[in-house]
């Protein structure tokens, strides 16, 4: 193959991504009625932070979900466990639920499960977005504190 003609896909993708971001900004600015996105530089930063959050949502450990882990009131329980607490007739009740009732309600169950899964995925993205924003805020705070300390040191030095 002619090496001169060889195409580096990552370069093509960088160009596509630039154009896609520009189109996204246009849509978000024009149709989303978000005046702040008139500033392309600002939009790039916002897009990068949110894109990072979407990518990070695949990570298995997110700080916010760890902080509320185990709290039953804040945890989605999408999967239904067919059980019974009754020691003697329990197995019969489970049998009836699984064999007779479940087949009739399966369609509703699957529909709900699908939506629960999507909701769980959106929650993860939102948790990741909050985490990314918290990190940005923390960094800014550290920089701001350092700048204040620097300014007051210079101020006291001048005095």
């Amino acid at each position: 193959m002619d090496a001169e003609n060889r195409i580096d896909v990552s370069r093509v993708m960088a160009d596509i991504r630039t154009r896609a971001i520009a189109e996204l900004r246009e849509r978000a600015f024009d149709r989303g009625n978000t005046p702040a996105f008139a500033d392309a530089e600002l939009f790039d930063i916002v897009e990068r932070v949110l894109r990072g959050a979407v990518d990070d949502s695949d990570r298995k450990v997110l700080l916010l979900s760890e902080m509320i882990a185990g709290d039953k009131d804040m945890t989605l329980e999408p999967a239904a466990r067919i059980t019974s607490h009754r020691p003697v007739v329990g197995p019969f009740i489970v049998f009836v639920k699984r064999r007779l009732l479940q087949p009739f309600t399966q369609w509703l169950y699957e529909y709900s499960m699908d939506n629960f899964r999507r909701q769980a995925q959106i929650n993860r993205i939102l948790f990741a977005a909050v985490q990314a924003l918290a990190i940005e805020t923390a960094r800014l705070r550290i920089e701001l504190d350092a700048a204040h300390a620097d300014a007051s040191k210079r101020g006291s030095g001048a005095a």
Binding site: I7, V9, A20, P78, R98
Partner: protein, 380 residues
Amino acid sequence: MKLACVVQRYGLDVVGGSESHCRSIAERLAVNHDVTVLTSCAADYLSWKNTYPPGASVVGRVRVLRFPVDRPRDTGHFAELNNIVASGRATADDEAAWFLENGPQVPALLEHLRAHGQEYDRILFWTYRYYPSYYGVPLVRDRAVLVPTAEEDPVVWLRSLAEFFTLPLGYVFLTPEEAELVSARASGPLPPSCVIGTGLEPVASGFSRTDRGPYVLYLGRVDPNKGCETLLRYFQEFLDRGGTQLKLVLAGPVFMPMPSHPSIVALGFVDEKTRAELLDAAVALVVPSQYESLCIALLEGWNHSLPALVNGRCRVLKGQVLRANGGLFYNNVTEFVTALRELVDQPELSRQIGRQGREYVDQHYRWPTVMKTLETFLAT
């Protein structure tokens, strides 16, 4: 060498990614080695109903030993366990129950491994998720070589797999990304491994053709789990944003409702000849799946010098496309629309990317290359 290949189903009429991979490898290993396939009597992967007679038979060049399935899958209970696993909240008992119910439950196969496992030099296990591998590998771990065919789905995150993945003597992976995934899941260092993918026979290349399209092609099961729902939405968005003239052709059995749209054509199952003709004449192959351990359709597309457009959220697909320089990828609808426009509007770029894909397949995915890598690995 005396080799055994353990797989959940085996037969000329058995269709399935790992089963086909196992058969292709077993037949080629049998040219130079004494190969026995250890499998179940089942043909159907949903029920695991016994179909083939138990005992020894010969399929192609390979001796096959079939073991009866003790109990068919309880589909209701399995669906319930699947949902628990998918929720990420499975307990150790749930996980054990899942592997048992996933089946096929062939205790006689495990008994054979206990009694005769030491007679084989190497025992290759296909797919970690099924009963024969999950319960079989620990019995013969000093000679077990696992072909995990692992994807980034919820099952791979089951806690019991952390230790399981450290047990085999060696690994045969389909892609470097699969190796990374299993390595990340294992509780200790992984044993030696090789990456082989699969082999393809060369086809008369269509890269000089200039009369491609006007359609993009999807190959395989048309199923929401394969990313097809999202693909249909993205493609309609592409049309809405001015991408007229182009059609989306889906070739494969349909397992979801299809929109009635003149630019979306679902052909259902197609034979090999039609499949090859579709691959020869398309503008690009689109692969929307998020979970893949190796996408054979992608390699087939490259074999026909077809550029690819793949889901960038799937590490395996993105990795393959970047290594081959054989396609573009997308992470959202705007990137999908922009990348597809690029492939349609820049035919020379599109052809060159397709040619590079073909070159990549020529270098890495021809059977002599694949078998040389595997045989060298098994001999060490």
